[in-house]
Symmetry: C2
Subunit: 342 residues, 2 copies
């Protein structure tokens, strides 16, 4: 099958390309009969407008760019599903870029997306991203931008996030109610919004229950597969070692579970463990992992909806707001000291 252009239709019908163009987009100033013939011919040749040419002209590309740290991550892959679902329904294509947690690549991705003329951008910041100049440029160019999950307070745009404070508060309070007092918090880079909010929730719960905050129990990092173990060893060597772990990400929760088991620390007898995760096999783990679940798919959906709303009503600026979606605490064996039914 060839690719036909508006010219082929014009030649076939012996009319000009402008007429074809207008007929195709149903302009009122084209004769109904001409329109019909053009439509028929386009149908017959299986004509598809060339989006590249359209983009060159500066019109809408009906594509939205999604830039996020990495796809191989339960939270993000589910968020993408949410985004795709909405975008598809509203007639947009989704182009996905991974920053691989690298600032440099994030900047390159933004440039790619801009120069491929996406109609809008959906982003979750890389963990290396400290300044947001590259996003300021996006705004300067008047390209709609919505941030989700990993957002920046320096940017005045619509954001969609989970209720990180509430989730962390609930998790910590749950551990406290189970009688834990030395709760370690393993989390990611300190400058990320989600890190700060979760830490705040953790501290608030401690305070409410009269447990003193001990910064020795909080660890930040990227935590590759081999780093979790040593860090746990370090924590367990403290004068009063932790009796519970609250981790702030998927990878940390799994890495922590693995490391604790390798060290023959029993969960939840010796220490209990709760994660902030979207792992869909959390209940099949050994022991079943208590988690704070973030509605990843819903976050993706809402972010996509806001973005497309902005794209389509570009004239009348939509209000900028931060949408905060509740999280859910699911208690399983890894934090339950009573009899376990599984």
């Amino acid at each position: 099958m060839e690719t036909y252009t508006i010219k082929d239709i014009a030649r076939e019908l012996g009319i000009s390309t402008s007429t074809v163009s207008r007929a195709l987009r149903g302009s009122y100033e084209i004769n109904a009969e001409t329109k019909r013939r053009v439509m028929e011919c386009a149908e017959r040749l299986n004509y598809r407008p060339n989006p590249i040419a359209l983009s060159l002209k500066g019109s809408a590309s009906r594509a939205i760019g999604v830039i996020l740290p990495q796809i191989a991550n339960y939270f993000f892959s589910q968020a993408i599903n949410g985004i795709e679902a909405i975008a598809y329904n509203r007639g947009y294509h989704v182009i996905i870029f991974q920053s691989q947690e690298s600032y440099e690549r994030e900047v390159a991705n933004v440039q790619q997306a801009m120069s491929r003329k996406v109609d809008g951008l959906l982003m979750s910041l890389s963990s290396e991203t400290a300044d947001v100049e590259h996003l300021q440029e996006v705004l300067d160019r008047n390209v709609p931008l919505v941030l989700f999950d990993r957002v920046s307070s320096e940017l005045n745009v619509t954001k969609v996030v989970a209720d990180n404070f509430g989730g962390a508060f609930a998790a910590t309070e749950h551990l406290l109610q189970e009688g834990r007092r030395r709760i370690a918090h393993l989390t990611i880079q300190p400058w990320l919004s989600i890190t700060q909010e979760r830490l705040a929730g953790y501290r608030a719960a401690l305070e409410k229950h009269g447990v003193e905050f001990d910064e020795n129990l909080v660890r930040y990092g990227t935590f590759g597969p081999d780093e979790v173990g040593p860090m746990i060893d370090e924590l367990m060597r403290l004068d009063t070692p932790p009796d519970a772990f609250f981790t702030a990400s998927d990878r940390l929760a799994v890495g922590c579970l693995q490391a604790l088991r390798q060290r023959h620390l029993h969960i939840p007898e010796d220490v209990s463990l709760i994660g902030f995760t979207n792992l869909n096999v959390a209940d099949l783990l050994n022991p079943a992992l208590s988690t704070v679940v973030q509605p990843a798919q819903e976050i993706g959906q809402l972010a996509a909806e806001r973005l497309i709303d902005q794209i389509e009503r570009k004239h009348r600026a939509l209000p900028i707001e931060t949408v905060r979606i509740p999280t859910e605490l699911i208690v399983r064996s890894s934090t339950r000291t009573e009899v376990v039914n599984q």
Copy 2:
């Protein structure tokens, strides 16, 4: 920051756009001094060529398209990582499309990718895809195409796959050596290449060990979350019910584990279970899941390498071949009848 074009440079320097264009790409027919001035100016304005315009011209876009069933899948997300790594090293951008296991969307994705002028296409077929006409078109347009994992025998292109036969053979033989005789095989759509190869490996192992093949023990399907349970009930009601399950995908392995546990069937005492999966938490499950591991990342890498080789040596056609990568059998508690050390 504005976006500058070749015209701006030309105006700034009082020369023509053609000269700028040629200077930028280092044409031998441009004065060294002119070149230097152009380079300096481009540098100063932070000039970036507009890829859209380049694509319109029909030249390389330095982007490759990846079309696969879904991202939220351990195998595919790891494969994407492999693809990204290679593409990035060789200076290509990756544009990802999900077919969501829908033929219709796969076709739309192919069209999108073609009209966005990707330099090549990497694909894993949706489970609905029975004919490959839409891919024939890709070849007709002379766009390099490499298939991975879910491939079609009807297409004469380079393919990168796991050794599905060998993996299934090893898994089945392992179960037989553990004394199992009624091995159920839960698999996906029968027309997919991977399904057929795995089934063949399964049969070959049975045959080698003198166990008769019973087609009642083989089930095909898409298996949504609620379908695995009823199917297991059905199998367990057979005159001689299965004493082992061999599943052909990530989702099936997890779904099966969940369903078996809900039914209080003990693993591996009552039935044993082995999966064909890339689940990175397989060893943390309860019980730890034996698996045939496919080197997903390596498959992605090899596929990307082959594709880029083809793109860059388009003139001299590279040999078409099928690369088959060995799988690895990892035995864990879910199939081990002896004492379990986990």
